[in-house]
Amino acid sequence: MERERKGFPSALEVQRIRKSFGKGAASKEVLAGLSFSVADGEFVTIIGPSGSGKTTLFQVIGGLEPPSEGEVWLGGKATTGERGHISYMPQQASLLPWETVAGNIALSLVISGLDRKEAKAKTKVWLERIGLQEYANAYPHVLSGGMQQRVSFLRALLAPQPLMLLDEPFGALDALTRLQMQQWLMSIWEENRRSVLLVTHSIEEALFLSDRIVVLSASPAVVLEEFIVPFERPRDEAIWYDPRFNELKQRIYRLLQESAEGSG
């Protein structure tokens, strides 16, 4: 099942990343030598206990935090410490309250490097496609949490950067909305393959969405194990009843459990 990667640069290559906060005795190591990769068009999910350093890892990949050691390669180029190479969907929708829904999307696209006209045109087409065209000129506070996350996802999807970083995108939603959002995201992504690195603490979400799962340990974070998710695409709810789904879920759960006991 492993994708053939030889000859093609990976969308993301994280090499022996270490990151500590603070100096001297107060220094705390958060990332302890992480290495993994995301192939072109692959959907990879990172699972780890909360506080294990997943957001910090994203900050390093995004160039906001310099790693103490190690390198980040995006699309075959060393980009350690450089910004503007990824598209991003944060845990909170993070829409500017003074821009309209369409304005928010267009602004992000312009920042990501599209010209204004193209950004506007793309925004319009896609707002219609996801059925939010009537909110195009509304301010974000009118939208429900789920709708805000759709807008936030769209913003990341339409940016020209090849790799999308999604940081617990549905963490703040209620269980039902969360399920709907997962299915919605899946259907859009399967039609518009992008390289994705998703962070979540939900094992089911990871199994439903991804091609591969990277499990992190708690503080300091190292890669415990990688799992290939074998389900065919397009996927639907049927995979929840697949015995392999439960088996994988149990294995990952046990792995996280052992890691928590080991560190606690």
Binding site: G63, R83, Y88, P90, S94, L107, I111, S112, H141, L165
Partner: protein
């Protein structure tokens, strides 16, 4: 509809209180509780104001002109100063304390220096008003620029926003709400400081008119000028509030929450 009701519930009580105070003042004058040449009655003030209305309006016009020039100048200086202090690293910590210090120098001390350097024209007076107005605007706006939402900032930086764009798209729009509280304070200050500026050797404007009337023992004229000054202050404040409503449209309405 709901809006009208809201406006009345705000304007109603102070209007009623003001009417009661004026009526009390007039009654006290009728009962001769104090001397008319010291404190004139409201009716005699209005009488006198009507009698000298054209002259009063001339002075008002001069004061309005000075106020507006000073206010606009002060807003511009306040705005640019806040932006510079915020954008140039390290400057804020050095300059900000000095700014606060500068506000403790009384206008009375600066005014003669300005007139000596720049004469009796409009310029020194406009500068004086500007100096009073810029400070609340700078302080309010700096506050707004520095306290932007950390998540929004983090998101925009993750997707690679440039420093100046971050200012225009995140920091400035966020600071606009704060900017308006500064503008409201400056709007109130501007009229009063224009009047004070007019005390410095000039014969135009309500300030000068008050000074002359006071020296000529015509308290009803002094009070007439005071009434107009109050009206100007309120109008100025009202205009800023109106501008705020027109400009900040994105805010969720309070009733909804």
């Amino acid at each position: 509809m709901g809006n009208k009701k809201g406006a009345w519930s705000k304007i109603g009580p102070p209007a009623v209180l003001l009417t009661v105070l004026l009526a009390g003042w007039q009654t006290a004058a009728w009962l001769e509780l104090f001397d008319q040449w010291l404190i004139p009655s409201p009716v005699s003030i209005v009488d006198e104001a009507i009698r000298i209305w054209p002259r009063l309006m001339e002075h008002t016009e001069a004061t309005v002109q000075l106020t507006l020039i000073g206010f606009v100048g002060g807003s511009a200086v306040g705005f640019v100063l806040a932006a510079l202090l915020h954008l140039i690293p390290g400057v804020r910590t050095a300059v900000y304390p000095l700014l606060v210090l500068s506000q403790n120098i009384p206008v009375i001390a600066i005014a003669p220096i300005l007139t000596m350097l720049l004469g009796y024209g409009l310029l020194p007076k406009a500068l004086l008003v500007t100096m009073v107005c810029f400070f609340p605007i700078t302080v309010a706006m700096l506050d707004g620029l520095m306290n932007t939402d950390a998540q929004l900032r983090n998101y925009l930086q993750m997707i690679g926003i440039r420093r100046l764009k971050l200012f225009w798209k995140l920091e400035l729009p966020h600071a606009v709400v704060h900017l308006f509280s500064g503008l409201k304070i400056a709007a109130s200050y501007s009229v009063l400081s224009a009047v004070v500026a007019e005390w410095l050797g000039t014969n135009k404007g309500l300030g000068a008119f008050m000074l002359i009337s006071s020296k000529g023992f015509m308290p009803d004229r002094v009070f007439a000028a005071v009434f107009i000054i109050v009206a100007l202050s309120l109008t100025q404040f009202g205009l800023v509030t109106l501008a705020e409503r027109l400009i900040i449209r994105w805010r969720p309405k309070k009733e909804v929450r």
